[in-house]
Amino acid sequence: MIRLVHVELLKLRTVRSTYGMLAAAALLTTLDAVLIAAQSGSSTRPPLFTAAGLRGPISTIGFALLLSWILGITVSSGEFRNRTATLTYLAAPRRGQVLAAKAIAAGFVGAVFGVVGVLLSTGVGLAFVAGDGYSVALGGTTIADYALGAVVGSALLAALGVAVGSLIRAQLGAVVAILLWGFFVESTLSNLVKGLGSYLPFTAATTLGGAPLATGGFGFPNSSSASPLPFPAVVVLLVGITAAVSALAARTTVTSDVT
């Protein structure tokens, strides 16, 4: 199993798309955080010298999480898009183990996306605070909690992406579906049904990184008055969703013909 995980990590290291998605996550996170920080103190956003104001740019990890989720999808659906599944299953005929190895490997790389995202969003937030001559309104422990949450959330979404990509093998369709889901569907549902957002995977993951409910981690206006689930509950929720979708994907993967 350890060798299988190493194989999957080597696969990710040897294609440019991994680095391209990481670069996109870094760029979009930075731009989003700068935009949010620049708007702070306006009529729509609290100023950066308040905890709520600083939380805005620091928690804009939505793009990092979304691209981590998409990375997970490409890890599994890419095998069918590029017709590499044949060689993968020749090397490791026990397909359930391959799926697990992919989820673990994607989780590791997803965590890297989370680290990069949170370093940049936090860096932008603190740079604006320093530039304006304010003191840091959030405690070190809170910022560390947000950072840990972003990394854990990103890793879990990547693992979930592997399961989703195994179920929806049409890669382009799966990626478009996830983009729509992350940008619009969850935010809309969270705003429509009070409390529902806490239980939706992407929104739940963004709350780990400190994003208020229904903002999608992109800094969208927050119209939800519900509270997010506690950190351990979100982790259990995401692990549960990933396990359920993975079990479904494993059944499909094991029984389907590779032609």
Partner: protein, 304 residues
């Protein structure tokens, strides 16, 4: 029961895709250490059979095993079986070396093997190029390099000469001959019969998912109407002797006869048993394409 000397056993293998039966109760063996050609026209069921053998496609009925074990049950599949299934099996953005590094790691073989097989298939100079820019022939070579990486005992090659230029086809032929000389078992599929004629010990011919025949090439050509021309001073006597064995022989001159439905070996042995001297033996063999068409046409007529 599987033959103990068989490296591969196919037993009643059947695959149905909805209403289409791609492979229908196929049964044959591949003896260990032999090179067997797996022949049939496009759509005959060759690739589906090989994919079932390799655990990629689930059979509707029957079983395909390596020494009695399913591919998924092999302890170390990459070290036991090397397979080349199709040219488009590589991530286009990965270099040839990176692709082989991955499969060296997957099979726990040293990375030095990567350089060895790149050299063996003539891709050393293209090692750092992305596979997306490879020609089909180069992809075939990379597929063969992947199969060779762990030096397995058995090779499954599905149309390995597709996309190869004439020089590449010759190289492939030499490669298969080398594998045979080293005692490897090779099952190589092709729809071009002439391509495998120089390398195989025997052939398995399939048509519309059915087994047509499994036989040596010599026996096959005899079956398909090979004519043996004999020059002997006792032509009439030899013709009579052959007729007693049920072999048709026509005396075309006082010292010449033509024999059909028998191999030169059969005619020579019978003549030797009767002390009939043979001055000249030639064969008028049909082309392999003729043989294939003869067999598949006969099979279709019988089936219908």
């Amino acid at each position: 029961m599987p033959d103990n000397n068989s490296a591969i056993e196919i037993r009643g293998l059947t695959k149905r895709f909805g209403a289409l039966t791609a492979v229908d109760h196929l049964t044959f063996d591949v003896p260990a250490g032999n090179v067997v050609g797996f022949l049939g026209s496009n759509g005959a069921g060759k690739t589906t059979t090989l994919r079932m053998l390799l655990g990629l496609v689930a059979p509707s009925a029957g079983q395909a095993t390596f020494r009695g074990r399913l591919y998924a049950d092999l302890a170390d599949p990459l070290h036991e079986v090397g397979a080349v299934l199709e040219a488009a099996n590589f991530h286009p953005g990965r270099t040839a070396r990176a692709h082989l590094d991955i499969y060296a790691l997957a099979g726990d073989s040293p990375r030095s093997r990567v350089d060895d097989v790149l050299d063996q298939v003539g891709l050393t100079s293209a090692a750092e190029r992305r596979v997306g820019g490879f020609s089909m022939g180069m992809r075939q070579r990379l597929g063969l390099a992947t199969a060779l990486l762990h030096n397995p005992e058995i090779f499954i090659l599905d149309e390995p000469s597709n996309g190869l230029d004439p020089e590449g086809v010759r190289w492939l032929r030499d490669l298969i001959k080398g594998l045979a000389a080293d005692g490897h078992t090779v099952l190589v599929s092709s729809h071009l019969l002439a391509e495998v004629a120089q390398t195989v010990d025997s052939v398995v011919i399939v048509d519309h998912g059915h087994l047509v025949t499994q036989s040596s090439l010599a026996k096959l050509t005899a079956q398909a109407g090979m004519v043996v021309r004999i020059r002997t001073p006792r032509a009439a006597e030899l013709a009579t002797a052959l007729a007693r064995d049920g072999i048709t022989a026509t005396v075309v001159a006082s010292d010449r006869l033509e024999v059909s439905g028998a191999t030169p070996e059969q005619v020579g042995t019978l003549a030797a048993e009767r002390a009939i001297p043979l001055f000249e033996t030639t064969t008028d063999a049909p082309s392999l394409e003729d043989v294939f068409l003869h067999l598949t046409t006969t099979h279709q007529e019988v089936s219908s």
